[in-house]
Subunit: 675 residues, 2 copies
């Protein structure tokens, strides 16, 4: 449906917004004015302002009417939320406001120990406070750095090692900048001291010394032993660049196959809405195929990166990149031709700054087609007649820079009803100093350069799948492939095997089993497939991954219960979006899945949410430094008796006329092989 | 090195051949004349003629000299082998011949129960024998097919259910052809009877009745109950084709980045030789990166597809697609622009026919570049300066049609030292009749269309990795990621974890462990990485898969021991190439890995071969019919401390100037979303 819009594409009034449209700049201002009116005279510092997800009981009928072409009911109320501080009292609040009624719904003060996520302004601020502090400058002095060398710091979320810490702390990891270049790789030259600040009072709490040997021993800051910096920026490399890479150009002379209307995308029978939040970043809403509902909402709900170096201060090193900071606010503003290849459509986002001013996040989501080889092929060997169809895909993605690391999160649609979620980790390892002149090595890390070690760590993701397989009442179950018993009558040769089903009827968790080829599926018990005679379903091609390694009773487990099991199911409730809970920064326990899953709700044939935990145990190798070749992990949602046959049969044949490939002739006497 | 060649690129003399060059047509003729001379007057029927892999102790020094630019030693002797029959006595032989000396090395008669692989001529022949047999025609008559309907058959390797069968048998599965069209989908209309023939005498042994209900009950052939045929060919579809798919063109205006000299390929510091055999199909030899050895030989050594329907005759349904038939002889002859996109280089192959005439297998291997997103990226969040490099890959692949199924086997190289092996399964499920009018369902299969069921089955692949990590003496080991014990001194918070190594010092097998994130690695104990201080290595990103489900003591297990465990290691010996042994057709036991692995050889720091078993447990869904959306499974070989840093740093930056992407503007008021 067409929405009236300004030249820049943004709706000019609330009535023009779709319930699932992301935050707009004028709404940020509306929210600020509601709060200023509710708390007159109070000096407010805004940490976050964003859209509150629509209440499903109001949103679902609206989406159904859109999908069926029926008269539209009243839209759900447009609600925003905000995390903010009163700078006079230091109190921390959460408010929900109704920007149509121009009223707060509630404003509540949060307990003292609850820390909101990091915001951009405070990160910039504390980095500066650290760099100017006399005690820090004194430590830098002790390093006796060569002329022209400077120091910077990456402020790190402090983490948790206590149930009684209520200050908002930050651990500033210090690094040396070898040369005045915008991309000097400071991660190659970590310092051996690390200040801890109170982010509110800006006080220096203490200076931690980092261990530099093979054990937990530390010493006072020593003169820096010069080592070579391992650079990644092209003009800082020692070696020459490759000269034999020829261009690879993708063109779509008739344009791309997708069409976009505001935030609604249509492509090859798929239709969905692209959403954006400060926390989730990219969200997909109301995904339908050929007019049939498949998924109400898809997003990466949380990720945790605990480190395996047991020595202080690394024992607190456990990032929650969505909850502690936010994928949305760390999303790169993408550049045409650099990040994406082909015909690219971008979507923008907005956030607030600490003063309540909108900040434009341009090009944070990109979308384009790609070709992924053959979709299906069969040749009748008798006559060589063949049917070939290529696998055209649609990619919607964002790239997030969380200090040192980059995560590329992509949702990939194809023409056979499949949805893939692919995560690539790249960027730079988190590094620690090590005195490897003496040959020091540690069993929980890898030496990746001179004087620099990268500790073992895990990346554990929780993807949140809110299914609507032909409707909202679904059931999660799994099937194991198990041998039939040997039986003189039916199975005398021991060849038989069957699939054995188990329904998850209560909220909770389950584990994968490679040995049984366990496959989790989501079905609609009220809709039977005419061909298979079973309920229509989607299955997860999940990623068998090592779950959290850390010990029972550790804060790592208490804070990230989602990371203990591969599959979770809860009964849908509004506002249950984030696997480890709403506030992860310096959390002591998980206030998310562990609570919701223990409600023991009935989850059979009802509105459920499925959460899949998967990831990478990352024990670094030298090849991951100074910048990491992207490591890929992905899972897929695939129709399983959702259709009565292959839904991609009607994709036109792959032909030379359409594809225009070129033949490379033998080059035996022309191009000499290059050494 | 340039080889003199004819206009068609084929060397004209043996001296022009590289030791790893594939079979040439004139060598087929040389082999035939050697055998005719050795067995004068005997009427010979050739099943296979192919190159015998060079003896490593002779080939390795030759390759080293090439690599180092040293004077070349004497080439290894050029040996061919042949499987053939004497048509007068029926005896089956294997011969090895020296085509330089023009002499046999040996000719040995094989035991009566040993069956060679299927060859193309005999498959064509038996299909015809079956279609003309009076008893078969009588069964077809009983079906009372409508006017215009005909019948065809897929001759199937008979399989094994006995230790005493020594006839060469074939099970002909019968199907109905609904309409006179080159791609009528006969798999949609299976018949309920299946003749068994003796392939040598051409006698009909018996006619099996296939069960059509929910149990093993069979009946005599009944009048066929007409059901709709589910077609896949574009012009036989009921539904109209999609009209909204826009072209996606890949061009390389300066040509591709690879260069080819005969069978040697150079691309982005990789260099390797493309090989082709009738059995393996595509083989990669002597893979080096930047002049350093990585892998001596890589290939898919075997695959087995056992079916889980326990009822006769399906209890014998277990294909060994490499050993029973051969990837090479079933490889598609690829068509420009249909199978591959972009700038394509093809390689040809040759086989013999039953008379000893060379048959040209044109374009059986294709090679091209592709773009796979971002290789690495890092943005300095302080100033937004970013380094982005794209992931250009080189793909070398073949597509094999084995009756109903297609397998696309691709080796994919990238610029960061990674080698991926990706297998896609597509084509058509193997189908069985079922009387689903009565609502019949079976627990070991899925109804995929009217009257047609597809049984559960597994695809288990054995990839053979002959490593040469900086040299031939290597060690296979694995690392598990395990928690450190909680310890007041070192690990008070229970965060620590380490990697625990286990060396495989004796030939044998090992299993994967997802719970411990077990990673298998191959290292060179004599070469230490300057940065990590550990031996240089490559690791396998293996595919955790369900192993063979079939019962202990079943023929499935006895014949395919490789499919019981994920990892195998043996001490290198020439001619140990095929995981289930040389002759799999109607085999009773595995004569491959189970024998070689039980030799108990020392395999630490010596010339080893690693075999990785992985696969798919395939319980069909309706979406897999009538032709299957390609199912992908892949594993990777990744450098692990082989390099001292990321080897792709010197790949030039991804820029708009190079990539020429296009911006898609908002299309809110132009392109209406299509329903």
């Amino acid at each position: 449906m067409s929405l009236p819009s300004r030249r820049d594409g943004l709706p000019t009034s609330l009535s023009a917004l779709h319930p699932f449209d992301p935050l707009t700049p004028f709404e940020i201002k509306l929210a600020v004015s509601i709060l200023e009116k509710a708390l007159p005279g109070a000096p407010l510092r805004y940490k976050r302002i964003d859209v509150l997800e629509p209440i499903k009981k109001d949103a679902a009928p609206y989406l159904d009417a859109e999908r069926l072409g029926s008269p539209l009911p009243k839209k759900p109320a447009r609600l925003l939320f905000s995390y903010f501080h009163r700078m006079d009292t230091g109190a921390f609040f959460k408010a929900v406001v109704n920007v149509e009624a121009m009223k707060p719904v509630y404003i509540k003060e949060l307990p003292k120990h609850v820390q909101g996520p990091a915001d951009i302004d405070e990160l910039i601020d504390i980095e500066e406070v650290c760099m100017k502090h006399p005690a820090v400058l004194a430590e830098i002095e002790k390093m006796q750095l060569p002329e022209g060398y400077t120091v910077c710091n990456d402020p790190w979320i402090y983490g948790t090692d206590s149930d009684s810490e209520s200050r908002r702390l930050v651990q500033c990891y210090m690094y040396i900048i070898e040369v005045d270049h915008a991309e000097a790789n400071h991660y190659s030259l970590p310092c051996a001291f690390s200040p801890v600040f109170d982010q509110v009072t800006k006080e220096l709490i203490r200076i931690d010394q980092l261990p530099t040997g093979a054990d937990a021993t530390t010493q006072s800051t020593q003169p820096w032993k010069p080592v070579k910096c391992v650079h990644y920026a092209h003009d800082l490399l020692d070696e020459p660049l490759r000269t034999d890479l020829k261009p690879y150009i993708v063109t779509q002379p008739d344009g791309p196959s997708f069409s976009v209307n505001g935030h609604e995308v249509s492509w090859q029978k798929w239709r969905f809405r692209v959403g954006f939040t400060n926390r989730d970043g990219l969200v997909l809403y109301n995904v339908t195929y050929d007019g049939r509902q498949t998924f109400y909402r898809l997003s990466m709900s949380e990720m945790t990166v605990p480190y395996g170096d047991p020595r202080a201060p690394y024992h607190r090193k456990q990032a929650f990149d969505a909850g502690d900071v936010g994928f949305g606010i760390t999303a790169n503003q993408l550049a045409l031709g650099c990040d994406c290849l082909g015909h690219i459509k971008y979507f923008d986002g907005y956030r607030t700054d600490s003063k309540g001013n909108p900040v434009h996040l341009k090009n944070v989501i990109c979308m384009h087609e790609q070709d992924n080889g053959i979709q299906h092929k069969h040749t009748n060997y008798r006559n060589n007649a063949a049917t070939i169809v290529r696998n055209r895909q649609l990619v919607v993605q964002m790239i997030c820079t969380v200090s040192n690391y980059e995560y590329i999160l992509a949702w990939i649609f194809d023409q056979a009803g499949n949805i893939e979620h692919e995560i690539r980790a790249t960027g730079i390892l988190s590094t620690m100093p090590i005195d490897n002149e003496s040959g020091a090595k540690v069993p929980w890390g890898t030496n990746v350069g001179p004087g620099v070690m990268a500790a073992y760590h895990q990346h554990l993701f929780s993807v949140r799948i809110d299914p609507a397989i032909d409707g909202h009442n679904n059931t999660l179950y799994y099937e194991d492939s198990v041998p039939m018993p040997v039986d003189k009558e039916l199975n005398p040769f021991g060849m038989g095997y069957i699939s054995k089903q188990t329904v998850l009827d209560k909220a909770g968790f389950a584990d994968l089993s490679v040995e049984k080829n366990r496959v989790f599926k989501i079905r609609n018990d009220s809709k039977i497939n005419d061909v298979s005679l079973k309920p229509v379903a989607y299955k997860l091609h999940s990623v068998p991954s090592q779950m959290l390694i850390m010990a029972e009773g550790s804060f790592a487990r208490k804070r990230a219960t989602f990371a203990e099991h591969a599959m979770w199911v809860t009964k849908y409730q509004d506002d249950e979006l984030y696997a480890a809970g709403e506030f992860t920064n310096q959390s002591r326990v998980d206030t998310g899945l562990s609570e919701w899953a223990s409600r023991n709700d009935d989850v059979e044939n009802t509105d459920i949410v499925v959460w899949h935990t998967f990831g990478l145990t990352h024990n670094p190798r030298p090849e991951d430094f100074p910048v990491m070749p992207s490591e890929r992990v992905s899972f897929m949602l695939k129709p399983d008796g959702f259709f009565t046959k292959n839904p991609a049969l009607d994709v036109p044949a792959s032909t030379q006329h359409f594809n225009k490939s070129s033949l490379v002739e033998d080059s035996c006497c022309g191009d000499k092989p290059k050494l």
